[in-house]
């Protein structure tokens, strides 16, 4: 609870407490619509999937520890490798960055009391959880996805993959996509409409720019994937011929549709990481980001240009050279906005007074890995080099430096950075630094030698390899690295778990952070802020007078909104005060709708079309109930 200056203020805060109080116990968690609780649900669920994906990775690396190893047979290996990719991308990185970090932090950073559509937010989470369980059901039944995460046809067609493996994949990802789409729409409306009065777009934190860019990218990237998966299911289940060359279909069309989604997806994965980096760096260098407008523009541009580079995944397919040259040029152009951001981070570090605490260490690791992954990425825009090295371990090295080194390191740094905000306690700094060095060494050791084995001709996605090719020592090194990395990750979890109960208690703003989440107590109250904060710059917390003004506003009752379950909405560009929104409180409908949707997908998988239709009807009934306005407390 925030510090309270006067009796009037105390009364208002008491009323806020009563109006916004969350239902306690398990039922509270199942029906919650509070963005912080949903963020925490996302966090634990995505971390559980991270652990599962990590175990799969360790199994894969253990199988490859020496030539002609017999730990996993080819069929099991293919399932592990495919599920690892699907898990890390769809069930870990995106849910943790958008679902956990975005949900918890975006409303706090923009000075709002919740997301724009709290119940849809809860729905996103429950759909995500159900889709993850759906995909893993396949794996536990021995029918996990097995045709690679990009599931090229005809390998993924019924003829060559007759089991339900690919159906778990295709239906699971469509299911998952509903969740992501709903989340993306929610973020766009929240960021455009729920910013505290005064936070015009040019005063919005770069973190929120990243999430805005990601949300738009998601909305435009997911439809091609859904179309591709829909075509695939029609081919597999109902005998259509979209990808069937023998009947006039086109196998290459799958690759186009998949990568029109798949490349923007890479930026969807990495942009939240950029957002986290631009939050941590100013705090620990005691300085504002260099070239703020350029960085904001670069974040948007990356998401936009990301839609025009997909063919660089297909340089070896024999497309015309004009096509290849065009997409190679686009792939080089997208390097420029990334370069701007990279240099802005480095220059900020260099011209500030950096304090190398654990979060900043992870950001430094991120910069180094992003450089490595970025530089090898540029090489893939050189067509002949790409055609030589694509589908080798060089690619595996490249994209793991990008989507593990560059996307996950800021997430790990962010876990440390916002840990005191979420728990009200501080993590153990020395253990934190040790965990960084373990994770950093493990990552470098696991993925760097992959460049070399790739350059020595080792193809990717092989379940085993012969000795005598010069690959064995590097593979051994990579497998050892994977275990070092796993120990670093384990140490992070242990540090945070122990600190959550034993850590030193901290106040609202232990770091002297720049953005509004540090304005409220740690952990934040259910209503986030006792008064909607005043904003006059992009570094709201560093404007001391504004924060003192907030205390006076609370006494006056200016934008406290204690009479109802309410938050203010503002205009899109200038964030002028617009209207007061009545926010829904907890609701049983999101989880019910997600359960009904899970029924639809389960029976689609089983081929009971009629029962699936019944569950579809159930979904509509739940939606009707959902839209009956429920009585407000007040």
């Amino acid at each position: 609870m925030a510090t309270v200056a006067s009796p009037e203020a105390a009364r208002r805060v008491q009323r806020l407490e009563r109006v916004w109080r969350e239902r306690p116990g398990l039922l509270g968690w199942l029906t919650t619509c509070d963005h912080k609780r949903i963020g925490i649900l996302y966090l634990f669920t995505s971390l559980a999937f991270f652990a599962a994906g990590g175990v799969e990775a360790l199994l894969v690396r253990t199988q490859l520890i020496r030539p002609d190893n017999g730990l996993l047979g080819p069929e099991k290996f293919d399932q592990m490798m495919t599920t690892h990719g699907v898990t890390m991308i769809f069930l870990f990185v995106i849910p943790i960055s958008i679902g956990a970090f975005g949900n918890y932090l975006v409303p706090l950073m923009i000075g709002s009391r919740d997301m724009a559509f709290p119940r849809m937010n809860a729905l996103s989470y429950w759909l995500f959880l159900a889709s993850g369980i759906f995909i893993y059901t396949g794996l536990f039944l021995g029918h996990g996805p097995n045709a690679g995460w990009f599931d090229y046809v005809p390998l993924g067609s019924k003829q060559y993959d007759p089991g339900p493996n690919v159906d778990f994949y295709a239906l699971g990802l469509i299911f998952n996509g509903v969740s992501s789409t709903a989340a993306a729409i929610n973020f766009i409306v929240t960021i455009f409409k729920l910013r505290a009065p005064g936070m015009s777009l040019n005063r919005m934190p770069l973190f929120c720019y990243a999430f805005l860019a990601v949300s738009f990218a998601l909305i435009f990237a997911l439809p091609p994937l859904n179309v591709a998966l829909g075509f695939l299911e029609l081919d597999r289940r109902l005998g259509f011929h979209f990808f069937d060359v023998a009947h006039g279909g086109d196998a290459l069309m799958w690759q186009h549709l998949f990568w029109i989604f798949g490349h923007p997806e890479v930026y969807i994965i990495i942009l939240p990481a950029f957002g986290i980096a631009t939050s941590i760096i100013p705090t620990f260098t005691r300085r504002k980001m260099v070239a703020f407008p350029l960085v904001a523009l670069a974040e948007i541009l990356v998401a936009f240009i990301g839609f025009g580079v997909w063919v660089h995944h297909m340089f070896a397919t024999g497309l015309s050279s004009i096509t290849l040259v065009y997409f190679a040029a686009a792939s080089l152009i997208i390097v420029v906005p990334s370069g701007i951001q990279l240099f802005a981070w480095i220059t900020t570090l260099n011209t500030g007074r950096p304090e190398f605490k654990t979060p900043l260490l992870f950001i430094c690791g991120f910069i180094i890995f992003f450089l490595l992954g970025g530089l090898s990425g540029v090489m893939f825009a050189a067509i002949p080099f790409d055609q030589q090295l694509t589908d080798t371990y060089f690619v595996v090295a490249h994209f793991h430096f990008v989507i593990f080194g560059a996307a996950v390191f800021p997430i790990l740094g962010g876990l440390y950075y916002w840990f005191p905000k979420v728990t009200g306690r501080m993590y153990h700094e020395r253990t934190g630094q040790l965990s960084f060095w373990l994770a950093f060494t493990g990552t470098a050791l696991t993925f760097f030698p992959m460049h070399i084995v790739g350059l020595l001709g080792m193809p990717r996605r092989v379940y085993t390899y012969p000795g005598g090719m010069g690959w064995s020592d590097y593979n051994l090194l990579e497998s050892i690295g994977a275990y070092v990395l796993a120990s670093g990750l384990f140490l992070i979890v242990a540090n945070l778990l122990v600190s959550a109960f034993r850590g030193v208690r901290v106040g609202p703003d232990p770091w002297g952070g720049a953005t509004l989440e540090w304005a409220t107590s740690s952990p934040p109250p259910d209503y986030n802020f006792p008064v909607i904060p005043k904003v006059t710059s992009a570094y709201a917390m560093w404007d001391r007078e504004d924060r003192e003004e907030d205390a006076r506003k609370l006494t006056r009752g200016d934008l406290v909104l204690e009479r109802g379950h309410e938050t203010p909405a503002s205009t899109v560009l200038d964030a002028d005060w617009d209207e007061i929104l009545e926010m829904p409180s907890d609701s049983p409908w999101p989880i019910t709708l997600a359960a009904a949707a899970a029924g639809v997908f389960a029976f689609l998988l089983l081929g009971h079309w009629l029962v699936a239709g019944v569950f579809g009807g159930l979904c509509l009934a739940v939606l009707a109930a959902w839209h009956r306005q429920e009585p407000q407390l007040a």
Partner: protein, 333 residues
Amino acid sequence: MAGRPRLLVPIVCSTAFAGCGGGQSPLSPKSKPAHDISTLWWWMLAVASVVFLGAVFMITIAWLRRKREGLPYLGRRENVANGLVVVFGLLVPVAVLGVVFVIANLVVTKDTDAPAAGSTAMSIHVIGHQWFWEVRYQGTPAVTANEIHIPVRTRVDLAVNTADVIHSFWVPELNRKIDMIPGQTGRILLYADRPGQYRGQCAEFCGVQHAHMAMKVIAEPAATFRGWLANQSRPARAPTTPAQRLGRQTFLTTACSDCHTLRGTAARGVIGPDLTHLMSRSTLAALTIPNRPDELARWILDPQHVKPGNKMPGLKLDAAETRNLVDFLESLK
């Protein structure tokens, strides 16, 4: 940095190994296209190293100056900092990327282009199967598998297709890769500077035995090649001993002939490789095992143990039948 020298040793060894034949390292080019790609790589590596070390240097500077006094919350000389970002984040990358684009995508790429129609003396047709390579020599009846003979220093036009899923033809010491996609024909130049064996491997994930879908290109002097091709073009040799005759009988009356072809006999299966001149090949099952009588017998009796998931069923043969069958196959020179 005690680890460094130890790390470098295997690089040197393995590239040396690859050079002695049978390797598949893009860094040991044996033709002009592969050579140009590897040169492009070394140059890009040099430029990338400069950028990387520059950035690490700047981070190190930041670390060294971490205790310096300064004004918290305020940047100093904001214009200089912004200028640095514009120069190093925008202008320098645009210039470097422009050079990479022109050299790689307008110059080097020409060397790796498919040969123009009619510009080569011979053409070979390779068809990808789960999990082996069918090789046909245009204008001759010769069909073989997994071991592609070519005359040295001769431009060969290679056309590729697939019989099932997507594969990718890749012999890195000779050229880039080309995907084998249903419904389309890929083309690539095959050329070797000097005689030798060049290993290749399927580069697109093609199912459970993607890992055991290797091949090799054998470049040999023109005369040797002509002799080899003439032999390949002939039908299968007739058996000469009673054991071979019994073996042939077994071949033609069991599942063997459903999947394999022996040109000049009733065996016309197309699921597995053509075995007409099996003994002219040094390996079995797409380079999975050496082609020796004992390995051949093991392969016939229990192929699912050697290469799990492959399409060959094990045959239930008694010891004598196996011996005769192997005897017959051993005669297919």
